[in-house]
Symmetry: D2
C-alpha cells in the first residue's frame, strides 16, 4: 500500500495484467469473452421477481456532460405543431413526429470501447493507435460488441457498505474493500461478471439538483484494483461516476491509469455514469446482489463508445 | 377480405382496438404492460444455448435512411491522430479518443414511441397532439419505456414459410398467414410476446449492396392484422422493413393505417429496420422460434423514438 | 414618457408603424428595400482609409449562447493527424482537412429574418405563422435577403456619448438619446441606413472573461424607438447585445415588444451580438461615424436567421 | 505544354511560387495581403449601378455535397407550430422561431482556409501539419481572415469566351486562356484582384435539376495556372466548380495539385461552388467585368473553411 504509483507502474502492471493474444490475435471483444454460454445461462436463472431496473441517467440537455463532451441536443424533424398547422402531415388529418439527436457517445450512461484509450502507440491487443482516426476506429470499435452485453451482474454498494450516503471526492476504493463489500453483501464476484460499483456520487448530484462538479474530482477505484479485475476475470466494471476510477489519480504523471492498465491491456469493458440508486434499493431489500444484466451497445460503425440503457433484471 | 379499407376503417378499427384507459389514464407504456413479471420470468427460462444474436443493422453513413431521415453522421472529437501528433493527449504518452453522432432517432434499427403518430388531434391514451412540440414529446415519449423492453420474443419467418427468399414489395401479410406461419414453426404467439416478422426485405438489400428502394414500397402487415395484434395482446411487433406494415397501404386515403390503429389506439410498440437473418438461421436450425428478447431504448428525454440494438438470446 | 407601455401598446404601435404592403404584397425584404441603388452608391463613396473592421464575435464553444441556443460545435471530418498517421490522405504524402459545424443560427453575431417573431397568427407582411414549421420558414426566410446586406452604416456609440464604459443592464435608450448621440457625433441617420448601437455590453463581458449574464438583463432600445425606426426609414438596426432592445422589457406583459412592433410590422432587419469595439475606436479617432457596411447572410433555405461576419469599411 | 506534370512538378513549383515569409513569418492571411487599402478604395469606386449579385448557391438538404461532405441539415428549435399549439411561446399570444444548422464547412459556396491542404508535413508559411488536429487548426484558420474579404472582383467567363454553354468535364484551362478571355472582355487582372472563373458547370447541373456528378470530373484550372496566379499576385481565385482546378488532375500521382502549389505555397485563398450565372449575365450586358466584391467568412475559431455568401456589387 505504501508503494508509489506512477506511469512506470502503469506500464509494468499493463504488461502483468495483459490479455493481449489470450482470446486470439484478432480479438476485439476483450473481457467480454469471459461471458461463456454457460455463464450466460446461469445468469438467466438468477431473477426471481421479474422486475427490471434501468441503470441509465436521462439523456438530456441538462445532463452531466461538461467541456468537450456536450450534453445531448435533441431536435424535432417533424412534430405535432406541423400536424396542427397543416405544414407537414399525412392527408386526411393523420400526422406523425420524427426527431434527431446530436450527442457525444461519452456524454451520459455509456460503454467505452476498447479503442477509447492507448499509450506507447498501441491500444488493446497490440493494435496501432493510428487505426483510430477521423474516420473512426478501424479496430476495437464498439460495434464489435454488438452481440452483447448480457451476463451476470453484481452490485457492490460501496456507500452502503461504508455506512455513508456517498464516498467523498478523491477517495480511492481498494480491492480489499471490494472483497469486504461483496462478503458483507453475501455475494461472490465470479469470472464473467459485470460488476457495478455504487459510490453514491450520482445520487449526490441528483439530490443537489446540479451536475456541476460531477465531471471532476470523484471517488472511484484505486489503480490497485487492476490486479483484482484481471485475476477475477470480470467481464466489465461500471460505476455511477464519470470515469469509474478515482480522480485525481494516484499517479501524479498519468491521468487515467486504471483505464490504461485495464482497458488497454486487460481488455476490460468500462461503463460510466450509471444510475444505480433504484437497483441498490431493490438489492438492499431482499439482500440479493446478483442479477441478470443486459446493456447492448448501439453498433455505430467505428465508434469508440456507445450510449446505453443498462438493465438489471431481478 | 373483400371489404374496402379506407380512412373510415382506420377510425372505426381505432375505436374497436383501443387500449386507451385500459392501463390507467396516465399510462404511457401501452402494450408493454402485457409483459408481466411472470411472463418475463417465463421468457428468461427459454434460452438453452446461451447464444446472443443482435438484430441491429450497422449505424453508419452508408445506411438505409433516406429523405428527411438522414443516416448517422459519426464524427471524432479526439482521436489517435491527436495522440500521435501531440495535439491532444494526456501527459506521458497516454492518449484517448472521444466521438459524437448526429442521427435521426428513426434512421436505423429503432423503436417508435407512442408519440410517433396521431390523428384527429390525439395520440395514444387520449393525449393532445400539441404535447409533441419542438421541445419534444411531453407525453408518451420513449424514455417512459426505460425499464424495458425485455420479454419473450417470437420470430415469424414469413419468407421461409412461403418458401421464398423474400416477399415482394407491396405484398400484404394477412393475420391468417401469421397464424399459419406460427403453426408451421411449432410456436404459439402469446400475450406479452414481442413478435418479430421476417420478410427478407433487409436481406434482399444487403445482398444487392444497396439500400436504394428500402424506404419505399415494401412487404408488410395488412391493416387487417390490427385485430390480431389487439386480440393476441402482444407487447410489440417488429420487422425487417422500414415501417412494419405493407406500403403502399391498403387504404388509398391513409398513409400508415396500421401505425394509426395499432400504435395510436392499441398502444403498440413498433420496431423497425430489424436485421433478423442471423436469428432466423439459428431458429431454423433447431426449430425453436421463441427466445428471450431484450432491446432497451435510450431514455432520451422527450424523444419520439430510439435507436436500439435488439438482442435475441437463445 | 409617462405613458404605460403594455401589450396593447405593442399592437397599437404595430398597426401605426407597419410597412405591410408598402413594398408589395409579396415582399419578403422589409426595410432592406430602403437601400436603393443610389443610396448604395453613396455609401460606397464613404470610405477614405481602405480599412475593414469585422463586427463579429468569434464563433466558438466558449461563446455567449445560453439555454436552448447552444454555442457552435466545431468538429473535424479529416485533419492533419490523419495525414500524419496515414489514416486518410491523398497518395504521395499529400493531405487535407475538412470540418463541420453544428450551431443555432441565433447563437452568435447574426441577422434575424422576418420570420423570427410573430403574434396574433401573423408575421411580417400578413403572412401566416403556420408557414414557419419544422420544415423551416416558407416565407420571410433569411435566404430572401441573399442579395444584401450592403449599405451605409452609422455607429451610435451610446456608451461614449454617456461618458461611461457601458450602459447598465436594464437601461432603456430613448429615441431622443439616439438623436442626441448622432448630433454629438456629427452624423445624421438617413433613410436606408444600417444603424449600429454600441452599449458597451459586449466589451464588459469580454473584459470580465465570461459570457455569464450576457443573455439576460441588458441595456437596449426603448420600445419608444419603434416610431423613430419607422419614421427614419432605417434599413437595419444592430447592437452589441443579444436582443437590441432593453431587457427586461418596458412592457410587463410582452417579452420582446420592439421585436414585435419593428420586426413584425415595420419589417425591420435586426442584428444581434455585434462586436463594435474596434470599429468604435476607429470612429472616435477621426470623428467619422458613417461608413460602408456589408454583412451578407448565408442563404440557408427556409432559415429564420443567419450567422454573419459584418464588415465596416472606412 | 508537352512537359509531364507529376508530384515532382508540384514540389518544384511549390518552391518556385512560394510566398512563405513574404508577408512575415507569422502571416496567416497569404495572398489577402495583396489587397492594400489603396486597392480596396479603388475597388469601391467601380460600381455604377448600385446593384448586388449574390454568388452563393442555396444552402439546403438537396444541395451539391456528396460523400463525407453531407449537405446542410437545417432543423427548427422553436417554430410557428409551437406558437399555434401553445407549446412554446411568449405570454400574450406572442411567439418566435429559432433554428440550427449542421453542415460541413466545405459543403456549399465557401472559402478554403490556408489550413485546408498540406504535404511533406507542412502547410502555408512553414507551419506544421500537426497544428490541424481534432481541436481545429491552431494556425492558418479561417477566422484569421475575419477582416476580409473585400476587394476588386474580376469575372472571367470562360464558357462565354469559348462560345459554349459550359466547359466539358476534365477540360483544363491554361493560363494563356485566362489572358485571352480577359483581353476579349476588355479587363485586366491586377494585383489584389479576386478572380472569379465561370466554367458553366454549376449552370449545367442547375438546368439538369441534379447535382449528381457535380463533385467528380470537372473542368477547371490547369496546374500551369499556378505561375500565373503567383505572378499576377491575385488575392483569391474562385469558381463555379467544387475544386476550382481541373479534375481528374493533370498529375497522375497527385490529386489536387493546384491546391498544393497555390494554397499551400502561394498562400492563395480559394473559393468553391460559386454561383456566377446572374453576375455573368449582368457583366455581359454592359461589358463591365470588374466590380466590388465582398465575401466575409464566418470567423469560426480554428475552422479550415467557411460557408459564404459572396456579393458582387456593380
Amino acid at each position: 500500500m505504501s508503494e508509489t504509483l506512477d506511469a512506470r507502474t502503469v506500464r509494468e502492471w499493463g504488461r502483468r495484467y495483459s490479455n493481449w493474444g489470450r482470446f486470439g490475435s484478432d480479438d476485439e471483444r476483450g473481457t467480454l469473452n469471459f461471458i461463456t454460454p454457460e455463464r450466460l445461462l446461469a445468469a438467466l436463472a438468477l431473477p426471481r421477481h421479474g422486475r427490471i431496473h434501468s441503470c441509465s441517467l436521462p439523456f438530456e440537455r441538462n445532463g452531466p456532460a461538461r467541456g468537450k463532451r456536450f450534453n445531448p441536443i435533441h431536435t424535432m424533424l417533424v412534430d405535432g405543431g406541423d400536424t396542427l398547422s397543416g405544414a407537414e402531415r399525412y392527408p386526411g388529418g393523420f400526422g406523425y413526429a420524427d426527431d434527431a439527436v446530436f450527442m457525444p457517445l461519452q456524454c451520459c450512461t455509456q460503454w467505452d470501447s476498447l479503442a477509447h484509450v492507448f499509450y506507447d502507440g498501441k491500444m488493446y491487443n497490440d493494435r496501432d493507435v493510428a487505426l483510430v482516426s477521423s474516420a473512426g476506429a478501424a479496430a476495437n470499435s464498439i460495434d464489435k460488441l454488438r452481440d452483447g452485453v448480457v451476463g451476470r451482474g453484481v452490485l457492490l454498494d460501496l456507500a452502503r457498505h461504508r455506512g455513508v450516503r456517498w464516498l467523498e471526492d478523491g477517495e480511492a476504493v481498494a480491492p480489499e474493500e471490494l472483497d469486504a463489500c461483496a462478503e458483507r453483501q453475501g455475494v461472490t464476484v465470479e469470472p464473467g461478471d459485470i460488476v457495478l460499483l455504487r459510490t453514491g456520487k450520482t445520487m449526490r448530484h441528483l439530490e443537489a439538483g446540479s451536475w456541476d462538479g460531477y465531471v471532476g474530482p470523484t471517488p472511484g477505484l484505486s489503480l490497485r484494483a487492476a490486479r483484482w479485475i484481471y485475476e477475477r476475470e470480470v467481464a466489465a466494471v461500471a460505476s455511477d461516476t464519470f470515469c469509474v476510477e478515482v480522480h485525481p489519480a494516484e499517479t501524479a504523471d498519468c491521468v487515467m491509469p486504471l483505464h490504461m492498465v485495464s482497458l488497454r491491456n486487460t481488455g476490460l469493458l468500462l461503463g460510466e455514469m450509471f444510475h444505480l440508486d433504484a437497483l441498490a434499493e431493490a438489492c438492499a431489500e431482499d439482500g440479493e446482489y446478483a442479477f441478470l444484466f443486459a446493456a447492448p451497445p448501439l453498433p455505430i460503425t467505428g465508434a469508440v463508445g456507445s450510449p446505453i440503457n443498462p438493465l438489471a433484471i431481478r
